[in-house]
Symmetry: C2
Subunit: 245 residues, 2 copies
Amino acid sequence: MKLYDIKNDIQTHDTASEVDFSLRATIVSMIGYILDTASVDADKKGFGVKKLNSENRSWVISRMALDLYRLPYKYETIDITTWVNDYGKLLTTRNFFVTDENNCSIFAAVTQWAMIDLSTRRPLDLRNVDEYKRYMCIEQSPINNPIKIAAINPQQTIIHKVAYSDIDFNRHVNSLRYFTLMIDMLPIEFLANTNPIHVEVNFLHESQYGDTLTAGYEQCGSKSLFEIKNSNNIAICRASIEWKN
Amino acid sequence: MKLYDIKNDIQTHDTASEVDFSLRATIVSMIGYILDTASVDADKKGFGVKKLNSENRSWVISRMALDLYRLPYKYETIDITTWVNDYGKLLTTRNFFVTDENNCSIFAAVTQWAMIDLSTRRPLDLRNVDEYKRYMCIEQSPINNPIKIAAINPQQTIIHKVAYSDIDFNRHVNSLRYFTLMIDMLPIEFLANTNPIHVEVNFLHESQYGDTLTAGYEQCGSKSLFEIKNSNNIAICRASIEWKN
């Protein structure tokens, strides 16, 4: 058993939209980088969406916890390490650790994923997935597992009709799009912040093309809380961002 | 003088949001790939935004014409060639040609760019940019130059307030975001289309964080026409998509 699975060097960034006005990678870009690294790692090992989709299965993300110590500046090279260290009936745990060129930690994340049947959209029992066990690493998670986030009392809401560009190959709203919707509700001063943050995200249900979503935002002390609901008032995604000093 | 400048192999795709429900790269992804290739090429030659931004200058795109013969499917590798073959006082012409693994053409584009002073936001005289001339290639443009697009009479409009995620390192709305806004107004059946299309885009003015944009859409026979205006009724971006048989 290996300690780590993959190291992925990413230069931030080649794409104009990956950095913001502060010339740092956005939080959404950082989450995109780690999810891309997860895809590459899983595909290499033969349990990525490349193989799963051909078998009418796919991975969907359920929860995410992350500690962001700092956002890398444009043209910095970052190093992303990912490994899977646990799985049960419904969820498997994939970890990420990101360092800069000086080998300093800038980001750590723990994510939990379900494997779904694309016809029924229901989760499969991971214990029945052949050989998945042999890809488990003994390395512990870098931070605590994601937690369950409670409903919020929004002080502010926006309406978003799910459009073509929100939908990905899984035929549902791409998980990063929820995060973009939430981030865009924050006061811009918060996004110029350079202190560490702790983020928790719960992906609760899927939403499809044409759905009307209501994104709510509540500021509770140092925590920004978010909840996105569909038109049946069902929570699709909840998140919290804690701004540290 | 070389015929071509750069060849860039891109595998579509590693990122979930780069392909749509039809499992093909989106038009916006394709435009993103060529613009990224342009950045890499310009940076390599020492006239990219990496150097320009350090001198308080930047490139901004003015017009774009493209012929899209087909959209590559997920995991296809495409090959992007780019070259600059002309410049005058205000604009320089950068060309793109994209082929698939069978060396078949899938995409050709001509773009025109201005170099701006980041303090005044006004264009600089490219004839005064030292050594730019030596990067000109003799290869002709693969399609006709972009044309001027007229105002439209929208049959449908949407309002979009410019948010944090729309703004790029240039501190204005990223050019791809206008295109996303427009594409999302189209009937979804149009986006499942597999026939060739011809696209023209005019980027007329910048817009900033907090601006309220109105995007208009008019269907004229086989042409989808778009116009995005700011709250002062000034046209920011116009585009047309011609759906061929």
